[in-house]
Symmetry: C2
Subunit: 388 residues, 2 copies
Amino acid sequence: MADFKVTPWEVEGEVDYEKLMRDFGAQSIPREVISKLPEPILLPLRRGFFYAHRDFDKFVEDAKRGKPVSIVTGRGPSGRMHLGHILPFYTAKWFQEKMGASVLIPISDDEKYLVKRKLKIRDVEAFGRDNLIDILAVGFDPEKTRIVIDLEDTEIYRPTVIVSKRVTYSTIRAVFGLTNESNIGWVFYPAIQMVHLFLPQIIWEPQRVLVPVAIDQDPYIRVARDVAERVGLVKTAGLLSKFMPSLESPTGKMSTSGGGEEKVIWLTDDEKTVRKKIMKYAFSGGRPTVEEHRRLGGIPEIDVSFLYLLYFFEEDDRKIKEIEERYRSGEMLTGELKEYTAKKISGFLREHQRRREKVLDEGLEVVLDRYRLRDEERDKIREWGKEL
Amino acid sequence: MADFKVTPWEVEGEVDYEKLMRDFGAQSIPREVISKLPEPILLPLRRGFFYAHRDFDKFVEDAKRGKPVSIVTGRGPSGRMHLGHILPFYTAKWFQEKMGASVLIPISDDEKYLVKRKLKIRDVEAFGRDNLIDILAVGFDPEKTRIVIDLEDTEIYRPTVIVSKRVTYSTIRAVFGLTNESNIGWVFYPAIQMVHLFLPQIIWEPQRVLVPVAIDQDPYIRVARDVAERVGLVKTAGLLSKFMPSLESPTGKMSTSGGGEEKVIWLTDDEKTVRKKIMKYAFSGGRPTVEEHRRLGGIPEIDVSFLYLLYFFEEDDRKIKEIEERYRSGEMLTGELKEYTAKKISGFLREHQRRREKVLDEGLEVVLDRYRLRDEERDKIREWGKEL
């Protein structure tokens, strides 16, 4: 097993997900919890992309009993968004549509500013606005969804002070791997993120908040859980996923950090570009020659195109089974699999881009305004925690 | 020389002011700078209570040339205010009246909340409102004075993020003596305080900002000076004072931490109470018996009553000289000196309390509203630093 390193800011090497789950102290998701979910069950949930959790069972139970529940999933605006960035938002939308969850979306422009040396305030603000086009294109219900932009909705500083009193520097340093040379904004930021996770309980009422994230973000959930009950709130629940495979590696993380601009699928890529990238870069589980492939068959488990279909883009269970069998037997060649995957992704992106255009036609700020905190919710933030 | 320890939160032992100044790297105030000040020169300035500085000469020069200058002096609301707390505000008022300085008054309820283990949010808020009665009683010009309450005027979080990116944990730990077990809000707070010092430059225009404080607060000024130019602002100037002598010690710091409620002069104390406290507790430079006192004379330098008169309450230079001589020669007894001092302090407090009543009659919130940030100033805070 290759060495690997996972912090909320960095993923290095080939990740062993089971070890990560054990190290973090999370649980694997029991079959019976998945089976309680409303049909059609979200693909990444029923096909094991989300593979670990904290209190997801309690979240499902509360939702089924009609209690208020909510989802928090955010974005740190350090660049344009690619396919791997948007899928958590479609996950949140599924929970909203199928299980009635409210959704809170924090835009952590402060975090990206503090962590990325070269970014200026105007950079993170510009990326923030660009990213919001994509997030709004997902189509959340404005009545049950709020977007909080850290550097604009600064009311959150107040509850953050309350939370930060309950977190020591050593805890943060141990959990997040900071050094003494880290800037003090970065040291403070985990408290802001904890407040993001608490915010549905503050602006509405105490409730189970579920955070569906890649497992590298779990440290935030753990420290939030430690603090939640001490400030009179329900413990945060986590739904933890593997990383969206990068084009070039089935266990890597889709990111511009290593591969560069060319090797990720941007949300604005057209059909031709998507096809070209999949054809050229998608790591294949096929064999070097057609002859060998026919004889030995492909390995779907390590084929990035297959994994994209399995986790995100092939809804039809019979179809995915058929592809798996045909590929493994050698009947289906890598080329055919890639063509099919490229079409599926392009189809998804076409729909996303259509809604993206709609947001721009209406005007970004106009649409965004529907998701801003209401005055009474801002008051709730200002009133919270007087006894703490 | 007894050991002593000075941090912004703690003063222990007998303070050696000259050593403190040298250790901190501040300068003593040259005579010729004092002589340029408008008459009548503020008592604590011309009698050496303010004894060290950073760039005070530049501040005076700018003010004399009609350039905009400002004063920042704040309050951490952890209890009621005593005589030692209010004098910096009267100093600020002198600079406003005589030299045209604007004044910015931060109420750091966040700091007190983070640093004092037992205080709840509602405690620091209540103390904050109580303290504002006294601060407003000083009678600042509402056109040239702003009050910023950290947990209410949360716009300041945004510039604080910018500043905090430029300060490392090790810097803060070294300068402020934090430990790894300090909470992360406390670690972040120095950046908030730096923003307080920068705020006149942000909401108005770049200018020399003078911070008149007891020398224990100098670390804040030093770190602010290091950062100021890196964010396009003028270096903060400091006017550094000795500690207001406590009743029981001429070199201690007036504080409830050691002596308890009974041994400080509260701003609400009446004439009888003031007299009683001075008579009972004020450390005397006199001799044990009248006979000895007549023969050897008193020591004004260590007599707290004399120091109060010298630094704050006896405007008349001839009168203070006369008292000093009569006391040193043994002609004036401790009792007479104390009576005189108690009267002077009571006179000051009577005036202060009269203005305090006026604030309450008008309504605290009504008066406070005149000093709140204007909308365009809040916009300036939100717009500042895009290129940083």
